[in-house]
């Protein structure tokens, strides 16, 4: 990419996600300085991943009018291939450990996904996604209905740790769908081959 920007807004509700992505950028894309911005709006209610990430990116662009990225993540139970998807955080916080356990008892195999959306200028939006197979470990879900995402409960296949336990380790970029999507974005941004 010829018109490099040194500063990129990362519009996300969660500082923990910002910290995770920022740590990745500091190592893999130090030319980019990420700046945390919290959205002042709610995301779109839709079961379509692409619609949700596009809506997030467009709303953020219309508000900030600066080059930015947004993120959306979730998972699907293999037994319920459309659930919870874009509703993951709401399903996890609403069902808590007991509800998740009921669904896991049938089959705890799952597939996690993450999207990174980028807008550098008007009508120039790009989207990158990554998927990882794994399992939902219900015993790591909070017992009470508190707001949490899939990070503590998703255990990638081939890993010995959950996504939460992988944060900050050498293996994190190998198993985290969020960092894999980030990698696709930075490769595209710096015009590198996909597998670099």
């Amino acid at each position: 990419m010829s018109n490099m920007v040194s500063t990129l807004l990362f519009v996300t509700e969660k500082e923990a996600i910002f910290d995770q992505v920022n740590a990745f950028f500091k190592i893999h894309a130090p030319q980019i300085e990420l700046v945390f911005k919290a959205p002042l709006w709610h995301e779109l209610q839709s079961l379509e991943e692409e619609r949700v990430i596009q809506h997030k990116a467009m709303r953020a662009w219309n508000h900030f009018r600066q080059p930015l990225i947004v993120e959306d993540s979730g998972f699907y139970f293999k037994r319920y291939p459309d659930f919870p998807g874009t509703l993951s955080e709401f399903a996890l916080s609403g069902l808590a450990r007991e509800g998740i356990s009921k669904l896991c008892r049938a089959d705890n195999q799952a597939n996690a996904f993450s999207w990174i959306g980028y807008i550098g200028q008007t009508n120039a939006d790009c989207y990158f996604n990554a998927r990882v197979d794994g399992y939902i470990i219900d015993e790591f879900a909070p017992e009470t209905q508190t707001n949490f995402d899939m990070t503590p409960v998703f255990h990638p296949e081939g890993s010995t740790k959950t996504l939460q336990q992988l944060i900050g380790t050498e293996k994190e970029a190998q198993f985290s769908p969020r960092l894999k999507a980030c990698k696709k974005f930075t490769n595209w941004y710096f015009d590198l081959p996909e597998d670099v």
Partner: protein, 210 residues
């Protein structure tokens, strides 16, 4: 003159129900059908969801208008799925729903109405009905008629589907109860403004403009 109120929804059945009520009981109000898909936002907060819809409705008609939003709460899970009931039921499916309620099938179904005359002030009306999700009489019925075929209100021997068209439905239907709350309130407002039944334009009684 009857006061025109646009019902902004993509569901014609809801408009028919509102018109049925106004033609029989709330004759100061004339429901106008406005077919529109309204964007919904993702939050558990009922008021935030419906006000977002009402703002879009106001932008579309720039006239007195109402929108509705409905959902259900599984007693076992407190506030879940609530405003996200529809996408949850679609994505999880009935098998998953029944798995979640295998030891407690109690449910509360609600309807919220939001009305605005100026796009600034939003008035909320809410009704709910407690009941239980019963074992479906048949999978065919469940797949074709959905929630109505398995929701049985507390105090009734019938499911929503079985009481359709019967007087009992007025007592239990969450949307009917919420609409009646709104219509009662709004007719009172209209009377305070001097609009009475004698002024009604019965010649165009509850006609649809769209």
């Amino acid at each position: 003159m009857q006061q025109k109120v646009y019902y902004v929804t993509s569901n014609r059945g809801k408009v028919r129900e509102a018109k049925r009520l106004t033609s029989h009981e709330f004759t100061l109000i004339k429901i106008i059908d406005r077919n529109a898909e309204l964007e919904e936002i993702q939050t558990f907060d009922e008021k935030t969801v419906i006000e977002h819809k009402a703002q879009q409705a106001w932008q579309a008609v720039q006239a007195p208008c109402l929108v509705d939003d409905a959902g259900f709460y599984l007693k076992k899970y407190g506030f879940y799925p609530g405003t996200l009931a529809k996408p949850t039921a679609i994505s999880l499916g009935w098998e998953g729903i029944y798995r979640l309620i295998d030891d407690d099938n109690r449910v509360t179904i609600y309807c919220r109405i939001c009305f605005t005359e100026d796009g600034i002030n939003f008035h909320h009306f809410r009704a709910d009905t407690d009941g239980e999700i019963i074992t479906p009489p048949s999978l065919e019925l469940l797949n074709s008629r959905g929630f109505a075929s398995i929701f049985r209100p507390t105090g009734s021997r019938f499911t929503y589907l079985q009481m359709a068209g019967k007087p009992e439905a007025n007592e239990y239907y969450h949307r009917t109860k919420a609409l009646k709350k709104f219509f009662t309130w709004y007719e009172d407002q209209l009377r305070q403004r001097g609009i009475t039944a004698e002024d009604d334009d019965y010649g165009s009684f509850n006609d649809s403009e769209e």
